[in-house]
Symmetry: C2
Subunit: 508 residues, 2 copies
């Protein structure tokens, strides 16, 4: 145990910076693990070591910002540092690598070490990779779900039912929560919806809602607002609900993997932790989504339902058409405009409206609000009568936004370019991934006005020179970049009906 005086380092990372000579004397190298103790409050934190010859003098330890969120030392204060032992988690991760099955306690130990930063991103990646290759069985998935719940905050409502809804993603423009949540809340059911920001997409539900109101709230605030307004749409990352999940998703990101067991646990832990007992899950099925075939979709649905039963939650899944974008808009402000227009009475786009009322209808049926087969009608009725708009305004208000906002108040990016059909024909293909990439290059989700508005969808006829889609950007250089890339990406394909021409007079 060696004493150091503290130099706070405003670098948004975990770790400790030691003078090279001090590190040698403690017996650690760059990247090794040490225990840092704040003797003033008794708090200790694991930290990984960086070394320097100049920035920290001998006897001084630099403490990075995220590690100090935990330690709470002051600049010039004192800490004690010692070589840290090897966390038990590493044994359990090794066990998973070797094809073993993890117990409840072993899983909880790993998840707790993830949340406390006691294992490194690389060590967490080993766990994720091992669980991807040696898939978890349903017992392990249940352990992981419960561990994710237990290592974060939980909401306990006084009354049931509590409804929740989740889309497993992979489809651009999937703004349905902006309709489904107000619809469900308008029926008198409670829905404390936590959602994500985009990682690989052009806008997560939280990015969309943030156009209209703040989305960062504590778990206690989520509960209070839901009690008052019937529903909320907030960013899950701010709540400390199932915090392990964000870390896992971050490490999966480079490989674009979404291991089945982790995905099941991720979704259900967040629903369980907000107190939901009725859950509707949207599983988009399509060649370019996470679920390529109906058969895969049915299997995944059965797994969600089984996991739900183990957790005393009633789950119903909807397999939805995922081959093309939902509605016409991709990108935060464009999607919000489209959603507001529908709430204000627009009868289009049909794909967006039908999907939203179908999912809300399932919630009405499983909660007993509507008889079997009549849920969608009830949802349609709430939409047409303006009850969903009224409720959405209440939700915007309780989150601190302007409840009088209308679709006309939302201004998408001022820099625009209309891409026209090069020839007459039919829209024969839309590439979801290319559409998302193009929206991101244009600046979405960070530039909220950036995105894509589709004028012609798959299967519709277009004439040469008619608009196919418009690219929006908040910054002109972003638009420029999107135009350059757009030529290569070809997100929308138009082809004539004449597929081949047989020379006249040719013999068959």
């Amino acid at each position: 145990m060696v004493k150091f005086s503290v130099k706070l380092l405003d670098i948004a990372k975990r770790g400790v910076l030691l003078n090279r000579l001090d590190a040698r004397s403690i017996g650690v190298l760059d990247g090794d693990r040490v225990q840092v103790i704040n003797p003033a409050n008794g708090i200790s934190a694991m930290a990984f070591v960086d070394t320097t010859s100049t920035i920290a003098r001998q006897g001084t330890a630099g403490i990075y910002a995220i590690t100090n969120e935990r330690l709470q030392v002051t600049d010039g204060g004192g800490v004690e540092i010692r070589e840290a032992g090897r966390p038990a988690s590493l044994e359990y991760i090794k066990k998973k690598m070797d094809g073993g099955r993890l117990s409840k306690e072993e899983t909880l130990t790993i998840v707790r070490d993830v949340v406390n930063d006691d294992i490194s991103p690389a060590e967490l990646t080993a766990f994720i990779t091992a669980s991807y290759i040696n898939p978890m069985d349903m017992d392990e998935v249940e352990h992981l779900t419960r561990a994710m719940v237990e290592t974060g905050e939980q909401i306990k409502f006084a009354t049931k039912p509590i409804v929740d809804k989740h889309s497993i993603g992979g489809v651009p423009g999937n703004k349905i929560s902006l309709l489904v949540v107000p619809l469900i809340a308008a029926s008198g059911l409670k829905i404390p919806k936590t959602s994500s920001r985009a990682i690989t997409g052009a806008g997560g539900t939280a990015d969309l809602m943030e156009v209209l109101a703040p989305v960062e709230f504590s778990a206690a605030e989520v509960q209070q607002m839901t009690e008052k307004a019937g529903g909320v749409i907030v960013w899950g990352g701010a709540t400390n609900i199932a915090p392990a999940d964000d870390r896992i998703i971050l490490q999966e990101y480079p490989f674009r993997i979404d291991a089945r067991g982790q995905m099941l646990a991720s979704v259900m832990a967040k629903k369980y932790a907000v107190g939901a007992n009725l859950v509707v899950i949207d599983i988009p099925v399509g060649e370019h989504t996470k679920v390529p075939t109906m058969q895969d979709g049915r299997k995944l649905a059965r797994e969600f339902i089984e996991l739900g039963e183990r957790l005393n939650m009633r789950v119903e899944c909807a397999l939805t058409f995922g081959d093309i974008p939902v509605g016409h808009s991709i990108g935060p402000k464009l999607e919000v405009m489209e959603a507001l227009r529908v709430l204000e009475g627009a009868k289009e786009p049909n794909s967006f409206i039908q999907k939203s009322i179908a999912l809300a209808g399932i919630a009405f049926e499983i909660s007993g609000k509507a008889a079997q087969g009549t849920g969608a009608l009830m949802a349609q009725d709430l939409l047409v009568k303006g009850k969903a708009l009224e409720k959405f305004r209440r939700i915007i208000e309780i989150q601190g936004g302007n409840p009088d906002v209308t679709s006309n108040d939302i201004a998408p990016g001022e820099h625009q370019f209309v891409v026209n059909a090069p020839a007459s024909g039919y829209v024969i293909g839309m590439n979801n991934q290319s559409l998302i990439t193009l929206a991101r290059i244009a600046g979405a989700p960070h530039d909220t006005g950036a995105g894509i508005l589709l004028h012609a969808k798959k299967g519709t006829p277009v004439k040469a020179g008619e608009p196919l889609f418009t690219i929006y950007a908040d910054r002109s250089w972003r638009l420029q970049k999107a135009l350059e890339e757009g030529r290569r990406l070809m997100p929308v394909l138009v082809e004539g009906m004449l597929l081949d021409r047989i020379p006249s007079g040719r013999e068959f």
Copy 2:
């Protein structure tokens, strides 16, 4: 592409530190990958982003020391930064996760990205984990070996044969290179021996040799010194030979894994890169080593031989007894003393001498220096006649050490504690791992005088109060800590011959 002025950060890590607002504007988050270009020399480097609000002002980019070893920018100079694409390696790693087999080109791309730091430690860990769970076949091992060689420096000697020797490790006190290398060089054969520092052990061969002479040399220096002296014993990490291997080993370390394919490639790449065409491999077999049974040892030996054939190298393996330490000493100075004493003429310890001459003897036989079955005798002769000592002094001299050093000049740690037998009986057990842990707690390998000297080995009788082993330390608090832990670790077990007592008069 955004321009920044440079602030050099003396922190021994890779990466770039951006102001939070600049990072948002480029569209990157903490941990994202950017391309940093030095316009002055055209060099570009991939870097991972940390963010700050204060340490780098807007428009300024902090460049960490290891990234700048590549970029070579000056403080106050300029760099350009842009969002970086996703390296192709990640697709190939994903392919390995999915059970695919990697081609030569795919493997080379991954290894090149590892060496250039274009993939993160977590991404490399995913590759290692995937290759551990989905083992490489011999084609993939050959690809990996060649890729490791091609991405580092290589030595090409004008004449053959070039001999090399490797122990796959797992046995404490395995100082045999200090005998084997001088023996082989004394015969007139050339042996450019690169070795490692301890990661989990109490002293690698490089740590031992450093007691006597510098060990950090470039590949060109290794070649020149070998041409002159016949052999060297240097630290491989300084040579830039097969540099990918060090990165891989570092990421394997937390899980104490040594995936078969990577181990084969790691050993053989280093031998191939130094130009060796005759290789002797020591495979210690025993319950607590990396190779638990003779059957495992034979299988591993066949794989080394096959890989050698693919690389036009002749390999011979020796399965050796790995259940107890080699010789009596563990820790840099203690092991060097023991090796020097044997070179100076000591007839003990038998285990150390016999193992060393056996391995040198194999080299003599496969090189044609000795007839089949007479290699060990030749080695014995070189040792007894002082030729090995003479050659070792020459090696020490050429590496810049004092060639007149004797075993009496080496002083182990001044703080010592003798652990005595608690009762009369036999030494029935020695726990290799506990011995290594104890030596490390006492300060080895960093404190070179720290370690353990065994007075009674497994199977020998001891009387109560007779010394079992001595713990050495350079610092008194380290000795204290070793004593505390030693009680728990029980590295040496003594038990009476009377295993059970049957009450007289009892019926059977």
